[in-house]
Amino acid sequence: MSDKSLKLTNRPAAVIAMALFAVAAVTYGDASRMAVRATYGMSANAASYFICLFFVALGLGHLLSAFRISAGPTEDCDWRAIGWIALALTGLIGSVWLHAGFVLGATLLFTFTARAFGRRALLADFLAGGVIGIIVFLFFNKLLSLALPQGPLERLLG
């Protein structure tokens, strides 16, 4: 390392260092509030304190590297595609949360993920996703008797 001046050369490492310190602080706070004590040996918070120390050490390591090693060239990132997948996951979680059922969630997940990878036939994918969702639902519900989240459509199928 010839460059000795203190210059932030690796921003991601600095951000991760901060995140590590933050998690360590949260863990410390949680551990210090634990009420149940072990009568013999160590209590449950011993492991928490250990992890805190570990995270602080890792955070210091990241901080050091943030000023010493320059970040490699970051790759291009297609945030639009990420957005589509985020939408896909939101669709799934939303439809389970709002009791709209598994099939709709799976359909949205499938359609938007396919869109993220550049497909534009939204309607065809929506139908394909729906068919997969229904088959999966019937397979689980009828044959394995495992209950996937149900909505109006599922109750109709069941």
Partner: protein, 322 residues
């Protein structure tokens, strides 16, 4: 994907044939039983057994089991109470572990908030020592605990569970401080068994069935069972018969929606009642190694209230509840 679907269809067709059951008739009940635990565990297998017998005896037209695992059953219970709307087709299968878990997890809901239908099974717990142990009787064990409660190492199932409670009760009966019991919790009777056989513990607690093999082969010495009365085929005597006023049964029961009333409630009670008095049910619990501990709804209701109070006071004395 097409290939996969094709093979999935084949499997579907195949399993479809094998899952076919001939419904015997009569009842129009279409029930859902929630097992507040993962597939494969004790509550799940009890729920699926009940499902099997209810459908085989025609007490219900269809029965579905759903699993809502989490936090000793409190997640499932909270969901069951939260979704309550007086529905006549929702059942919950739970047991003493849920009573303890609701208390030690500070859960806002407990089993007194749902409608008891019937108590189904009750398994005795057993207290054992390794075969080479100098402890021969329950009185020897009490004396050992009284001498030094810290070095009397207990092993058993999860912290705050029925096993832990029994260890605390025995420690208290020995005249020692129950909050000082040196109880080492394992994830289940299985791992605790290894610790017993390896000679790392003074005494162990578990469901009788789980350690039956080792007790019969002489690898473990059973000192007492926690059931109030002697049980056929179990040599160990109840604690009560040995002068200790302790009884603890690992019971399981079935509950319904908090708001179910009138004819709907009666229909559920009679369907479950008929099921558990059938020969099929008796055969099944025998094959599973469970003990029949049936009690009808009214008796079960008072039982739940007294168990809740009792478990709370024990957990408080061992420092797991406030």
């Amino acid at each position: 994907m097409r290939q996969f679907l094709k093979s999935a269809f084949c499997v579907a067709a195949l399993t479809g044939i094998m899952f076919q059951t001939a419904p015997l008739a009569a009842s129009e009940l279409e029930l859902t039983i929630m097992a507040p635990a993962g597939a494969g565990g004790g509550w799940d297998s009890a729920a699926r057994s009940l499902q099997e017998v209810m459908m085989a005896t025609g007490q219900a037209k269809s029965v579905q089991v759903i699993n809502v695992p989490g936090a000793g059953g409190t997640v499932g219970l909270a969901q069951f109470v939260g979704n309550a709307n007086g529905a006549s087709d929702q059942l919950l299968l739970a047991g003493i572990t849920l009573v303890g878990a609701s208390i030690s997890n500070n859960s806002p809901v407990d089993l007194t908030q749902v409608t008891p239908i019937a108590r189904l099974t009750g398994d005795p717990l057993v207290i054992v020592v390794p075969k080479d142990s100098p402890i021969k009787t329950i009185d020897d064990l009490l004396a050992t605990i009284k001498k030094d409660v810290a070095t009397a190492i207990w092993v058993g199932g999860s912290a705050g569970g029925a096993d832990h409670i029994l260890a605390a009760l025995v420690t208290k009966a020995a005249g020692a401080d129950p909050s000082k019991v040196n109880y080492i919790a394992y994830s289940g009777g299985g791992e605790a068994l290894a610790a017993m056989l390896g000679g790392q513990a003074t005494a162990g607690v578990s469901g009788y069935g789980e350690w039956q093999g080792q007790i019969e082969s002489g690898d473990l010495r059973a000192l007492a069972i926690s059931y109030p009365e002697p049980i056929d085929g179990i040599e160990a005597k109840p604690l009560k018969a040995q002068g200790l006023d302790i009884e603890l049964v690992n019971w399981r029961g079935i509950f319904a929606d908090p708001d179910v009333k009138g004819a709907d409630l009666e229909a559920l009670k009679s369907a479950v009642g008929n099921t558990v008095q059938s020969k099929e049910w008796k055969d099944l619990i025998k094959a599973r190694g469970w003990a029949d501990y049936y009690a009808p709804a009214d008796e079960f209701k008072t039982f739940i209230a007294s168990e809740t109070d009792r478990v709370r006071s024990i957990l408080t004395s061992i420092g797991l509840a406030k």
